[in-house]
Symmetry: C2
Subunit: 388 residues, 2 copies
């Protein structure tokens, strides 16, 4: 750990829920934390100052997209991702694997890595564990993710085992590459953030024993922290919660735990209850652009006719700019009129709902009333008086 | 004038350029002023707080669009446009005429008014001078525009005269309707802003004598102020400047003069030099969304390859959020990646350029150095070192 400023300290616990502070080369992050997704170096619909106003402390950006456009070399020449995009706070980048696996017909997986065709121009690429590490070295995120194989759901136990074992072999290669970059570099690979941390990823599908084995062996490789991948891919919610519940027990207490690509507001509370510290998900931002809004009284589909003359704010309990300033009637008008503003105002609200939920979770843990928060939160979410 | 809080006071003059304060029921506006265009009750890509941050004091909104969607009755039931869109400052609405005339094949002009089919659903409508007044009464803008006939360019003198005379007849009908609404109302027409002002519009094409006649007769009808319409429709720039030059001489000194739908940064300076006080134009906002940016060193087309690795701000002389925070390289990336953010950041910059130009013009008039500002401004615009 001496090679990076990355650090994590648990400050409060309540049951298995933890509150903590994750320190990165670009500042610290209070956990549990939700990372807004800035796929191409920007959160769709928001400026960085909007994000800062919401209290976002860390941004997630996608290696696959930035690698293809504008290119990791160009970003390295600009001094790295922070300088290129003008975001001075922590950034986590994924490995690119998930996007590549999502290309379906346009990719094949080999032991060497994942071959794929660009969704932009059809050009052929090979993403290896080493290359995923190199690209992220050029981007200079504060947290890099190791390349893993994303298993489809459902998969049988043998397929899940083979995939989990490949992920372990890739993790070893990715970690070795990072250590090599830290030790003095690799020709042609810029290191724009020398103190970049790297997280390992636990796989193993819906099989607790495989998850356990993956966790132990990934931890043995000695990453700065650990993520749980391959969930929220179609499995039932209770299966996901069980896997999270089981897997966090195999991960070190003193390292942050990141549940990748999840989830709904309820998922956040349930995962924190099982020891998760970090989240990312496109749900609040993508849903916002589709007019689907999260409120303290359930979900609202703003295009519904019932809001045409509704002068109330989206969520009377919300203090975001959107709720302080605009009515449902106006937000519906903006959405139907396809105004850019509709995306901006809806995204502001949904992200505020997520970030505010995590603020309330952190307070609840500190005051040791997380269980009562959790019950009240689920109760409020299940009311859904508007649309359902 | 006793029926409305509308007022105008010239505070400084320098040659024919004037600085002043226009007072409306929702606050005052320092002139010369540029009105950002919020077609459907929102400036595309910006939130109201962005606009306030830029120092925008008055918004223009389009009657045609709001009439069709969400409907002026709905807006009246919400308490008027200010309350509906959450913008507490002055709003000017156009009459809807310009959009209707732009529908080309989908409209016919009669003495009664303009018949047209909605661009949204093809439904048939008749926009009369009375109806344009009624719709704006429901919207409750601070300044309503009277319905005029927008003459195509080029038009011969006979056509221009006939059209100008029809505009005068329509102006009389529109004014009478407003006075009727003020005097106690018209059944079925809500008055959401009882102190709404109404501006007359001078027409007459490129014919100075027709413009003069139009101005005198429009002024005789006794509007709160006067606009020059039917310019920036394809005529040469010097013809436009000549018509503005000539027409402002026929308009009362003590009333604001509004040049509709204009123009380039150079047009602003040239029109202020000829006595204009108010402007609106989609140029800064529409160009921004197309990646065309105004800078103190000329125009930039941000998608050009030469900006791919350009770490400089768009405009080193600009203090807007975009220029303070982001590089041309990042702005180019956002534009090519079709990020919503590209529209927002570019629009912020272009509108700041326009609003800042008017701040500099106001200062120059106050210090009686408008002529030297005007020369320096044209010189800087003509440098265009980047793209041309």
């Amino acid at each position: 750990m001496s090679d990076t400023r990355f650090d994590f300290r648990v400050t409060y616990t309540d049951g298995r829920a933890r509150r903590g502070v994750m320190t990165t080369p670009h500042g610290s992050v209070e956990t549990p934390a939700f990372m807004p997704v800035g796929t191409q170096g920007a959160v769709k619909g928001l400026t960085h100052r909007d994000l800062e106003g919401l209290g976002a402390e860390i941004l997630l950006s996608n290696t696959y997209h930035l690698y293809l456009r504008p290119g990791d070399d160009l970003i390295a020449r600009r001094g790295g991702l922070h300088r290129f995009i003008g975001w001075p706070r922590p950034i986590l980048t994924d490995s690119g694997g998930y996007q590549v696996f999502s290309l379906a017909a346009r990719r094949t997986i080999e032991e060497e890595g994942a071959r794929f065709q660009s969704h932009l121009d059809g050009s052929a690429h090979l993403l290896t564990p080493e290359k995923a590490t190199d690209i992220q070295s050029r981007l200079g995120s504060d947290v890099a993710m190791v390349l893993d194989e994303c298993l489809a759901h459902p998969s049988d136990a043998a397929t899940a085992r083979a995939s989990m074992e490949r992920t372990l072999r890739w993790a070893k290669r990715g970690r070795e590459r990072l250590l090599q970059l830290r030790a003095g570099g690799v020709d042609g690979v810029a290191v724009t953030n020398p103190e970049q941390a790297q997280f390992g990823i636990v796989q193993g599908g819906v099989y607790p024993k495989l998850r356990e084995e993956s966790a132990h062996q990934t931890v043995a490789l000695g990453f700065e922290a650990y993520a749980i991948g391959g969930l929220s891919v179609g499995e039932p919610t209770d299966v996901m919660y069980d896997i999270v519940d089981h897997t966090t027990l195999s991960l070190p207490e003193e390292r942050p735990r990141y549940l990748m690509g999840t989830g709904t507001p309820a998922d956040l509370a349930e995962s924190v209850a099982r020891g998760i510290d970090l989240f990312d998900c496109v749900l609040p931002t993508r849903n916002a652009r589709n007019g689907q809004l999260f409120t303290s009284e359930g979900r609202i589909n703003i295009k519904n006719a019932q809001y045409a003359e509704d002068d109330r704010p989206l969520d009377p309990a919300c203090a975001c700019y959107t709720c302080r300033t605009f009515s449902r009637a106006y937000l519906r008008h903006l959405f139907l009129a396809k105004e850019i503003n509709a995306s901006t105002l809806n995204t502001l609200h949904n992200l505020n709902f997520y970030l505010d939920t995590l603020r309330r979770i952190k307070d609840a843990i500190m005051f040791r009333r997380f269980e009562s928060f959790r019950r009240a939160f689920h109760h409020s979410l299940s009311r859904q008086p508007h649309d359902s």
